[in-house]
């Protein structure tokens, strides 16, 4: 398992997440895309932790997982509330803050 392998896999997953976030209109899918982006970074950290034989990267990964979980909770709660009031989850229609 070389350096390049880890980097390419991580970058690919990150790009998939980014593109997914940009093109999908369903906020649930968008949240999943965000998770993909986060986990690409996790992958990178764990990979390098293994290559460099240190534990730092794994600890960071655990922290990121925790934060991501908390973030999703908040995000899902917001999505739920929006759906209850609007019965519509298309993010392009959620634009009351238009300047």
């Amino acid at each position: 398992m070389g350096n390049q392998f880890v980097l390419i896999i991580s970058a690919s997953i990150f790009c998939i997440g980014t593109v997914g976030f940009l093109i999908r209109r369903n906020p649930l899918i968008m949240l999943m895309s965000v998770e993909l982006m986060l986990n690409s970074v996790n992958f990178l950290l764990i990979g390098y932790s293994s290559i460099l034989q240190t534990l730092d990267g794994q600890i960071f990964a655990l922290i990121i997982l925790t934060v991501a979980a908390a973030e999703v909770v908040v995000g899902l709660a917001i999505i739920l509330t929006i759906f209850r009031t609007r019965h519509d989850l298309n993010v392009d229609h959620i634009n009351v803050l238009k300047g």
Binding site: F21, I23, D92, N95, V96, L97, K98, G99
Partner: protein, 622 residues
């Protein structure tokens, strides 16, 4: 030993607070009685203090400072909530609460028809409290507090009939004039603190003679600044214009404020600070000069007015001029003695005039009165008593006090023949103008057939009779007052005996009365002839020397013009323009860039991605 003396101040304050809070919950009668009771009780406490003070040796009567508690203690600056009990302050307490009480009782009758009865008594109590605080203060700080409160109370009372425009304007004028004086007082107090490191009378007066020599610049400036305050309160030239206008208030107010108490504050101030003034003989000369000038000047104006109260108001100014003359030439106890006799006979004159106005349902023009001696016999007598006292007919109180001052103005060290001549001239004019009013009002036949004058009720007659009694007999207390106040001023003033001069003064007063009699009691033609002959002088006097107009032209108009300039040019076209432009510009820029705020999450995300990629490229390739 005088700790209960606080009650003198506390009672009227209690009356004010009580009447302001519960005034509309109690009946008119209760409000009136409550208002009188507080002042009456205060008078009784004063009597108790007086008796205790008299029991002491004359030298031990000075400087009893009663401290309630220490209010401020900051570094070297200490301020106690304290009152000073000495013969001078007790003397003033007696006048303020004694005459004040009689005027309160009179007001019960006079204000009967007024819907805002309790408000009136609340203000009157506030006024009494402020005046007592002014005279009781043991330091310059509380002196100024009392000074300013007196100004406030007079503003409220002059403008009591607030639906009357002229009353509101008069109140405003009085307030502005008084504040000019307050400013002088505050600066003086600051200078005193700078020079002596204390505001307490005791510290300042004991340190002053050692620290400064006679006519030291600092001393002259301090005394002059205090004098600004004294002139403003006591309506001396050039700050006198508010007093005649202040007659817009109810008549008891005129009697209380513009005869017996407030206007005498200036005389009290100079007497209280006599240590400082004795160190500044230049200022003393100025006081004597202005006093004599005001006496003559106000006398001339009083001779041609037709409003009964205005004539008496001018006579107040004129008599205050005498008091200033007295303190100016250093005979302080004569000044205070005249202050007391004047308080009695002037309150009497005002209240009698009030009784006339009351009996004629609000008429104040003496040309529409006449023949009232039959309809109002009692008021006729009391007014006559007041008039002879004012004119200085021998053996009345006015005779003794005025005599002492005019005599000293010639014989005392600082006196001279000019002051004396002005005093005598004023005495003559005084006799003339007050008897002119008397003849117009009470003699001859009624000039207004529609008027149905009636005598005033008993509650108004009582105070009139008491005041008349004191106005007649108080002159005989001259020696006692001199002895009582002597320790305060170091030595008792010397009584000069000079039967020649005495006769001249008396003749001047009687001559004035006689001329008034000739002019106003005989044919109308003589009056018209005199008026025609003296028309130019008459016009100047009737228009009060055009001083109001001069002030209007010199001060009010320029200030208005500056105000208008600042409003139009600086405010509207300067400051407002800048503020408006800030708003307009921000709005314009915001409108230009508001498209960025599309409200679409995906656009924002794309922007972020593009930004991040740009930063990445920048970091990697540059």
């Amino acid at each position: 030993m005088f700790s209960y003396a606080w009650l003198i101040l506390a009672l009227p304050l209690l009356g004010f607070i009580g009447l302001s809070w519960f005034g509309n919950k109690i009946s008119k009668k209760q409000a009136g009685y409550a208002g009188c009771a507080t002042v009456g009780l205060s008078f009784l406490v004063t009597l108790a203090v007086l008796s205790e003070l008299l029991a002491l040796e004359p030298e031990k009567r000075l400087g009893h400072v009663e401290t309630l508690y220490q209010w401020v203690s900051s570094g070297s600056f200490k301020l106690d909530l304290a009152i000073l009990i000495d013969p001078l302050s007790v003397f003033m307490f007696l006048i303020v609460t004694g005459v004040g009480f009689l005027i309160h009782v009179y007001s019960i009758g006079y204000m009967k028809g007024d819907p805002e009865y309790s408000r009136f008594f609340a203000y009157m109590n506030l006024f009494i409290f402020s005046m007592l605080l002014l005279v009781a203060a043991a330091d310059f700080f509380f002196l100024i507090v009392g000074w300013a409160l007196v100004g406030l109370a007079s503003y409220l009372l002059i403008g009591f009939w607030k639906e009357k425009t002229s009353a509101v304007l008069a109140a405003r004028k009085a307030f502005v004039m008084n504040v000019i004086g307050d400013v002088g007082m505050v600066i003086a107090a600051l200078m005193i603190f700078q020079n002596f490191g204390s505001l307490s009378y005791m510290d300042v007066f004991s340190a002053a003679p050692d620290q400064f020599r006679s006519n030291d610049d600092t001393m002259v400036i301090i005394t002059l600044l205090l004098l600004v305050g004294a002139f403003a309160k006591s309506a001396q030239i050039p700050l006198h214009t508010w007093l005649p206008d202040a007659m817009e208030g109810p008549t008891p107010v005129s009697a209380l404020i513009h005869a017996a108490t407030m206007v005498t504050a200036g005389v009290y101030l100079i007497a209280r600070c006599h240590v400082l003034y004795e160190l500044a003989p230049i200022t003393m000369y100025l006081i004597a000069g202005i006093g004599a000038l005001t006496a003559v000047f106000a006398g001339t104006m009083g001779m041609v007015q037709y409003d009964i109260k205005r004539v008496i108001a001018y006579s107040t100014m004129s008599q205050l001029g005498y008091m200033f003359l007295a303190v100016g030439i250093g005979v302080f106890s004569f000044g205070m003695f005249h202050l007391m006799t004047h308080a009695f006979f002037k309150a009497l004159l005002f209240l009698s005039a009030g009784s006339v106005i009351h009996g004629l349902n609000g008429e104040q023009d003496i040309r529409k009165m006449g023949g009232l001696r039959f309809a109002m016999p009692l008021t006729h007598i009391t007014f006559l008593v007041g008039a002879i006292c004012l004119a200085g007919v021998p053996l009345t109180s006015g005779f003794f006090s005025k005599e002492a001052i005019i005599m000293s103005s010639f014989h005392a060290e600082m006196g001279n023949i000019v002051f004396w001549a002005m005093g005598v001239l004023t005495a003559g004019m005084t006799g003339f103008y007050i008897f002119r009013v008397y003849f117009y009002t009470f003699m001859g036949k009624s000039r207004n057939p529609e008027a149905h004058p009636h005598e005033s009720p008993k509650i108004m007659a009582g105070p009139l009779l008491i005041l008349a009694f004191f106005a007649l007999v108080m002159g005989f207390s001259a020696h006692w007052v001199d002895q009582f106040l002597g320790p305060v001023f170091g030595v008792a003033a010397h009584h000069y005996e000079d039967s020649m001069l005495e006769a001249i003064v008396v003749l001047a007063g009687l001559g004035g009365i006689l001329i008034a009699g000739i002019v106003y009691m005989t044919s109308k033609d003589k009056l018209e002839f005199a008026k025609q002959a003296l028309a130019p002088i008459y016009d100047v006097l009737f228009n009060k020397y055009y001083i109001d107009e001069i002030y209007d032209f010199l001060i009010v108009k320029p200030v208005r013009a500056i105000g208008a300039f600042f409003e139009q040019k600086v405010e509207k076209e300067g400051i407002d323009y800048v503020v408006d432009q800030v708003g307009t510009q921000v709005r314009g820029i915001s409108q230009g860039i508001s498209f960025l705020q599309s409200g679409k999450i995906r656009t924002y995300a794309l922007n972020m991605v593009v930004g991040m990629v740009a930063i990445l490229l920048f970091v990697v390739f540059l």
